[in-house]
Point group: none
Chain length 248, copies 2
DNA sequence: CAAAAAGCTGCAAATTGTCGCAATAATGAC
DNA sequence: GTCATTATTGCGACAATTTGCAGCTTTTTG
């Protein structure tokens, strides 16, 4: 079998099954795995497949999420960067959904090894792109608006988790009412997450500070760390600092 | 043998087998390999064949494999359309992941009201875009390659579901080995889904018919409906029809 | 962390390709 | 018919490509 012919066969198999193993190919065409590897390298270099340990993947498979964020991206990136610095190797982290969390997911350093729990589809998708992170999806009925799993099932599952950190993007926070939200199910979920984690980190752009919504998630005293896009010393944050929150 | 005659013979062989080896030609026409090479060079220069190390390939050879990408999309759409026609209002449907399933998700009619269970992130994302569909995500550890939840947790959850229909995109199927896959976890998952549903529908482009992978998912008798891009009466499908599968 | 699997590097053997050259066949002019 | 010219072919030496193997490193997995 000619080299090109073999590579064409490999491409064909990849497009057929979305992935191939070097060992399978080797035995089905009767050439050494070295040869297959060299073929895969060439195909990967010319961009026809994506090479992975042990085989190759179809290129078209992984790209269904378009990055179409618009609003407050730079603030959210700033927040996300501060958030990432809190995560250490080996940690169990539970996170909600929302754009800030997704932004954080994208900024996780490549070599970080940790386990992430989430019920948010976009967040889970981002975590799954990361090479060293274990992703556990907390399933239940999916709320359309927020693309997050809500319901008793999810809450029970969350209660069985003991995480080191909980990251939440939030809708409203003030020192009087604490953390509030406008969706009952989401509020329950966030509450459960907070109770399951040793430390709770809330992330918010400064606009949302000192505002309140209808439904209470938890009191200010259950939150440990507050991250905004501002300097930690900014005076808007004074009130929170006085409630013994750590400000980043 | 005249030069032109020889080249015509070579062209004939190429169109017949899609590829030729210089050594084979040399021995079958009794000329030196040098001569063959010179012929191949000329044929390649005038664009009649594609020359490669050791021989030559038919020009249509490459486009045959390149076309298959595009061509597969349309077949997958065809398959998805047939699949959609099986779903009725009020049904409980459980589905796997994979491109065919995602394609089906995109084609669900706007007014359809049904409940969908899945553990696939891309599929759940698509279902969640639909206005009238309830989406239940079956959570567990996410397998990176396939973006699908796998593990005992997911399987237990699936076993508690009683669905009307199960849709699976598949890797390989034949009448002898039944449904087979190349990933152990995915195979377990598919098996659980099949057992939880009254009717199982498998979707496959015809190229995957009559092929087998390493791990068995279930026997052919546990499958009810087979959908391919072909006409149901196509003779490739005869073997499956004889196993009392409904073919669409 | 240790065993197993996969990958990489350098190397040697085999195959294939190229170039120049000479022998031969074909062609056309005389 | 003869001769010169040209095209074609095969040969030998050398270059390039391809492939498998052994030893070692990296990655994965339990």
């Amino acid at each position: 079998m000619l080299k090109k012919e073999r590579q064409a066969y490999i491409l064909h198999q990849v497009s057929l099954h979305n992935s191939v193993l070097s060992a399978d190919l080797s035995s089905s065409i009767n050439v050494s795995e070295d040869t297959i590897r060299r073929d895969l390298n060439e195909l990967a270099e010319s961009g026809k497949v994506i090479k992975v340990h042990g085989g190759a993947l179809s290129k078209s498979f992984n790209s269904f999420y378009l990055r179409s964020d618009v609003y407050n991206v730079t603030s959210k990136k700033l927040i996300a960067e501060k958030a990432v610095s809190l995560i250490e190797d080996g940690m169990f982290v539970i996170t909600g959904g929302g754009t800030t969390v997704v932004e954080m997911a994208r900024l996780l350093p490549e070599n970080l090894k940790a386990t992430f729990f989430t019920g948010s589809i976009p967040a889970a998708y981002e975590y799954a792109q990361h090479p060293n992170i274990e992703v556990i999806f907390i399933g239940d009925k999916i709320a359309k608006k927020s693309q997050i799993a809500i319901g008793g099932e999810a809450i029970t599952k969350i209660k069985h988790i003991k995480a080191d950190l909980c990251f939440l993007g939030i809708n409203a926070i003030d020192t009087e009412h604490g953390l509030t939200d406008n969706d009952w199910d989401i509020a329950q979920l966030k509450n459960a997450m907070i109770e399951s984690a040793s430390k709770t980190v809330v992330m918010s752009i400064s606009e949302k500070l000192n505002s309140a919504q209808r439904i209470r998630v938890c009191g200010i005293d259950e939150i440990d760390i507050l991250i905004t896009e501002l300097e930690p010393s900014h005076r808007i944050l004074d009130a929170f600092r006085m409630n013994s929150l750590t400000i980043l």
